[in-house]
């Protein structure tokens, strides 16, 4: 992206080399959700965090404290954030504080009355998730009948003068519809479409063999996207390459404790969505810890900041500053060692685990396994160990 002496852009968010600032505050305000997506990245044990959500006053305090630290982009996410009835209040406060506020929603619960209140309160942007051009796939992968509703909500968002930003998680069931998905985005009048190739955390990891496309499918999808970009400059299409199919890992979260701060439904303060899956970590909570201390000084935020924690092959790798060793959660989930190189990296002694997962995804028997949809009952079953056979190959689950 752009890089010159006056402007710094890095994955859409600037970074400071000397002292880190939490430019992004992601507020995962609830884990409750009316959808049951097979690829949800939320923790598989989310059910235990649905009863102890932060209050409105606690969210407002967290917003104020994070703003003082420098946070400027606010993502209001979930679960489905609109299941809370105080999003309007949170938005009003965010606007007063000078945040650019982004509501990340499935569209369920976005009524004409609420969108008017959100607009009046100063909400800057609504990102709507879409799943496919066909009603069948949309309803299958979300385990709900939400196709028609999403079309209506898209129209409503556009009518209120919001930028139209669609997010489509890409997996085996919709990847061959890429051309039609892009055409739908254009027809809706989308300004941006994020084609987010599935990453394997949370529910998505449990359903990995069923969701993962083949390399050939990915190559075709990327070619279709590039062709679309060349002929449709008005729709900005962002294609997020899936890390399993790369030779080097992603710079996860743009670096641990570099720009992203996540506050979860129950108030835990995390450097990434999945961080609670790591062993022997104590994350601060806004109910009893100062947010400035949490970001700057807490042992959890300092544990994997920078490159000091690395061991080989990362420590002597010429790319260590570039990717910061990839994703700590992915390393732990797949290798059992949070400080190992991300197994996506071809220099990792564990790369065979990724290659095996890619092979498994071609296995018709594994593909045909029943999908475990994200819902409260399945969350309790996973947490209780009842579904151990599904997850025993992983060292933990987020």
């Amino acid at each position: 992206m752009t890089q010159n002496t006056n402007v710094q852009v890095n994955n859409g968010v600037s970074t400071s080399a000397t002292q880190t600032t939490p430019l992004w505050l992601l507020a995962e305000v609830t884990y409750r959700c009316p959808l049951h997506c097979a690829f949800c990245y939320n923790p598989t044990d989310y059910d235990k965090h649905t009863q102890n959500e932060l209050t409105t006053a606690q969210w407002i305090q967290a917003l104020r404290d994070a703003r003082k630290l420098g946070a400027i982009q606010l993502g209001i996410s979930g679960g489905e954030p609109l299941l809370r009835d105080d999003i309007e209040e949170i938005v009003i406060e965010a606007h007063k504080l000078g945040y650019y506020s982004n509501l990340i929603t499935s569209g369920v619960g976005l009524t004409e009355q609420r969108i008017q209140a959100l607009k009046a309160g100063g909400l800057d942007h609504i990102q709507l998730s879409m799943h496919d051009v066909t009603e069948d796939i949309n309803n299958f992968i979300t385990n709900t009948k939400t196709f028609q509703l999403k079309q209506k909500v898209a129209t409503m968002i556009k009518a209120h003068g919001y930028p139209m930003v669609l997010n489509v998680v890409i997996h085996r069931f919709n990847i061959d519809h890429m051309k039609q998905i892009l055409e739908m985005a254009e027809a809706i009048g989308a300004d941006y479409i994020e084609l987010a190739n599935n990453q394997y955390y949370g529910w998505s990891l449990v359903n990995r063999s069923q969701l993962m496309p083949t390399r050939e499918q990915l190559d075709r999808a990327e070619a279709v996207t590039n062709e679309f970009r060349a002929t449709n400059p008005n729709v900005k299409a962002l294609y997020v390459v899936p890390d399993y199919f790369n030779d080097r890992p992603k710079k996860c979260m743009n670096g641990w404790g570099e720009v992203f701060m996540i506050v979860t439904a129950n108030g835990d303060v995390l450097p990434c969505h999945s961080a609670r899956s790591l062993p022997n970590m104590q994350f601060p909570n806004v109910k009893d810890a100062d947010l400035g201390w949490s970001w700057k000084d807490s042992p959890a935020f300092n544990k994997y900041r920078g490159t000091e924690w690395m061991k080989e092959p990362c420590r002597s790798c010429e790319d260590k500053e570039k990717d910061l060793g990839g994703c700590r959660c992915q390393s732990f989930l797949l290798t059992g060692d949070a400080e190992a190189a991300d197994p996506v990296c071809t220099k990792s002694p564990h790369r065979h685990l990724i290659d095996q997962a890619i092979e498994d995804a071609k296995n018709p028997q594994l593909q045909a396994q029943a999908i475990l949809f994200r819902n409260d009952k399945n969350s309790r079953r996973l947490a209780s160990g009842e579904l151990k056979s599904l997850i025993e190959q992983f060292h933990s689950l987020p």
Partner: protein, 93 residues
């Protein structure tokens, strides 16, 4: 790159974009859906003058007066405006 910007052009901040001073960073920023651009020094000085009313020519004169020692200021300004326009941070009024 051939410049398409004329001294008579008038710009405003792009649709769905917001320009503001960030105290914590001590610089101006442009905000847009899920993204931010940090504007250091001269970039901030140029964009803070964009208000949907003044022309590029007036901005050039203003900056020449404010920074009399800066060399080749006009081409810097044009370069910055080209970039900002191509990224959608600005739109022509």
């Amino acid at each position: 790159m051939t410049t398409q910007i004329q001294l008579s052009d008038v710009f405003s901040i792009g649709l769905h974009h917001r320009f503001q001073w960030e105290d914590a960073q001590q610089n101006y920023v442009i905000l847009f859906p899920e993204g931010m651009v940090k504007l250091h020094g001269s970039a901030g000085e140029i964009l803070k003058r964009i208000d949907g009313k003044v022309s590029v020519g007036e901005i050039v004169e203003d900056l020449k007066t404010t920074f009399p020692d800066a060399e080749d200021i006009e081409s810097d300004i044009m370069g910055m405006l080209e970039l900002a326009l191509s990224k959608g941070w600005l739109r022509k009024v």
